[in-house]
């Protein structure tokens, strides 16, 4: 029940004081991992803001940021200042928000579904949100100004989560096969709707949609950051409050209820949070798959399945992965730019395949 990662570790420290050496070791790991992730994120953000065709050293980046927030430092020259503040930093911030949202959404979904293969991309939530976003572009909607695309993505995403949830559950649990097959169906249907929207769009809109669909942060601007900030921030702030309850939900729905969890209420809240986070990511960056799958899994392997670390940790990890991915996307083939969604899928798909094999082996077949 904590708002931030740091107080999350404090909490773990106070609740288990006399737990013996193994738990103590794990608390140490939690602290090390959290600190490590935060430091890595900070360094990566600094490097990412400086790297590119116009090179800025990390020291200069820091100085410029310090200057702007009024803590001393010094501004860069006119071009440098413009590159940093109008191109690089919005992109870095957007990568942080999108990655954090995707990682966190993945951890939450796996907890809610009680299934380690749940992820917004795999089971079609991203595609659903994308339908909303594409439709709003193709129809030229602008009723909420800057927030229109995000809002449409949220509504469509919410509908899709609910749909997948209802379709893939029976008897209080979600079987892997049902979930994946539901994902295939939802992805196919969403793909068809996106195709229809493109069919009715004019040329300018088609270009916009295609760029957006590949999953790229190349068009990052401050207004775009502002467009997804409320969604992402709300989702990221609310999610950690459900960490303890998600732990209990791992026992199953009835046992969780026996331990005082209002399962229905929690499920609705988390479905909303997942829709918020997915919409935030999809609205600006298109469909970026596998981040929400890969990050929580790696963290679970490193530090066990406790959600008090996993939920905020996955947000941190997701931000790192996306920041690194975006850095690679725009520097590897410089001056050309690889689509970010393509890059994450390139690395994510084999991982997903390995995960499928492992799950299948554990269960002794799909039956």
């Amino acid at each position: 029940m904590t708002a931030t990662t740091t107080s999350g570790t404090e909490r773990a420290d106070t609740t288990a004081p006399a737990a013996g050496p193994p738990a103590k070791g794990r608390r140490g790991t939690t602290f090390t991992l959290t600190t490590g992730l935060a430091v890595a994120l900070f360094v990566l953000a600094l490097v990412s803001a400086g790297l590119g065709t116009y090179h800025i050293s990390p020291g200069d980046v820091l100085a410029s940021v310090q200057h702007r927030i009024g803590l001393g430092g010094a501004p860069l020259d006119r071009v440098g200042e413009s590159v940093l503040w109008n191109i690089r930093l919005p992109r870095v911030v957007l990568a942080l928000l999108v990655g954090g949202s995707l990682g966190c959404a993945g951890a939450l979904m796996q907890g809610v579904f009680g299934n380690p293969l749940a992820e917004p991309g795999v089971i079609g939530i991203s595609a659903g949100a994308a339908v909303g976003a594409v439709a709003s572009i193709a129809l030229g909607l602008s009723f909420f100004g800057n927030w229109t695309v995000t809002f449409c993505a949220f509504v469509a995403g919410l509908g899709t989560v609910l749909l997948v949830y209802v379709l893939s559950r029976s008897g209080g649990k979600t079987e892997v096969v049902t979930l994946i097959l539901t994902g295939i169906a939802v992805n196919a249907f969403a793909g068809a709707l996106i195709g229809l929207a493109i069919f009715f769009a004019d040329n300018a809109q088609i270009t916009q949609i295609t760029f957006w669909q590949l999953g790229s942060l190349a068009q990052a601007t401050w207004p775009k950051v502002l467009a997804v900030l409320p969604c992402a921030l709300l989702g990221l702030l609310v999610a950690p409050f459900y960490a303890r309850k998600l732990d209990l939900l791992a026992l199953g729905e009835r046992p969780a209820r026996h331990l005082g969890v209002d399962v229905e209420k929690m499920r609705m809240a988390l479905v909303l949070v997942v829709a918020l986070l997915t919409a935030a990511a999809v609205a600006v960056a298109g469909i970026i798959t596998f981040v929400g799958l890969l990050v929580p899994h790696l963290l679970r392997m490193a530090n066990g399945p406790g959600h008090r670390f996993l939920v905020p940790g996955s947000a941190l990890g997701g931000a790192i992965v996306l920041l690194a991915g975006d850095l690679a996307a725009r520097t590897v083939a410089n001056p050309a730019e690889l689509p970010l969604g393509v890059l994450t899928a390139l690395f994510g798909s084999p991982f997903f395949f390995w995960l499928l094999r492992r799950t299948r082996r554990k269960q002794g077949g799909w039956a």
């Binding site: 732990d247 199953g252 005082g260 969890v261």
Partner: protein, 284 residues
């Protein structure tokens, strides 16, 4: 921070249960009907479980034992009739309020993620978060793990345990919850001889400490030896309810189980022993 905390934790405003005097009704079931998939699984159950006693629910497969337990646990809604825990219908308690009043051991223990055993047992303390009893967490967890002999598994992942070991960890979680009403659905099903006896001894200890223990059992010998009262369920009704020595009659059990049985007093203790009548095996 404290206002922030109280906004998000349900622990502050709950009324905590006062301990019941021995013999007071902890669970009252009256006129309970439960219909599942068009079939009347429970057809008019009246039953009371008292603080300080072990009540065994016995009966053949499909007699409605687990359904009765689920209805008492508020997992299933009554079609007709009422179930009261601590004097109030179960449907009127909120989930957090119920969680400090009764604990439930389900028939099978599942876990979606490989939590270590100690974490699983600690989950039983979740209902007390934000209450003064939170200070007892470590004691309750350690005590429950020692009682069920799972202390040695502490750091191992739950998924790496055998069926019987998992069942004992699940029981430890339920004991750690320290609720005044325990509902145990076949706690001995996966256990070896030693641990079957251990579990029933724990039930007796909890009853002696003033808790009401309701336990579904298949082994009539265990029920006879450890329960204060036994309720024999048959076709969704209670065929008989009372001290095992009075209830476990040859005629009744033979009819209910559709299997001729003999009931003999134990030569030393006098508790009833229930033995199926078997034709002597002949060797050719």
């Amino acid at each position: 921070m404290s206002a922030w905390k109280s906004l998000f934790s349900s622990g502050r405003s709950r009324t905590l249960p006062a301990p019941l005097p021995p013999g007071a009704a902890a669970i009252e079931v009256s006129g309970l009907h439960v219909r599942l998939g068009g079939r009347e699984v429970l057809a008019g159950i009246d039953l009371t479980a008292r603080a300080g006693e072990v009540l065994a629910l016995v009966g053949p497969n499909g007699a409605g034992k687990s359904t009765l337990l689920a209805a008492v646990a508020a997992d299933l809604a009554a079609t007709e009739g009422t179930v009261r825990i601590d004097g109030r219908p179960v449907g009127e308690w909120t989930a957090p309020e119920l969680a400090v009043r009764r604990s439930v051991l389900p028939q099978s223990a599942a876990l979606s993620f490989p939590f270590p055993v100690e974490d699983v047992v600690r989950m039983g303390r979740a209902p007390w978060a934000g209450t003064p009893q939170e200070d007892e967490d470590d004691l309750a967890v350690a005590g429950a793990m020692a009682a069920t002999e799972v202390t040695a598994f502490g750091p191992r992942p739950f998924s790496a345990l055998s069926g019987g070991e998992r069942a004992r960890v699940a029981l430890a979680r339920v004991l750690a919850q320290r609720a005044p009403v325990l509902l145990l659905d076949e706690p001995t099903a996966a256990l070896d001889l030693r641990h079957q006896e251990l579990v029933l001894r724990i039930c007796r200890e909890r009853a002696a400490a003033g808790d009401a223990v309701v336990v579904v059992l298949h082994d009539l010998g265990l029920a006879a030896a450890y329960a204060d009262r036994a309720a024999v369920l048959h076709g969704g009704r209670i065929a008989a309810c009372g001290p095992p020595a009075e209830v476990f009659g040859e005629e009744l059990l033979s009819r209910v189980y559709r299997q001729p049985v003999e009931v003999l007093p134990h030569p030393h203790t006098g508790t009833p022993l229930v033995i199926p009548r078997r034709t002597a095996l002949t060797t050719i």
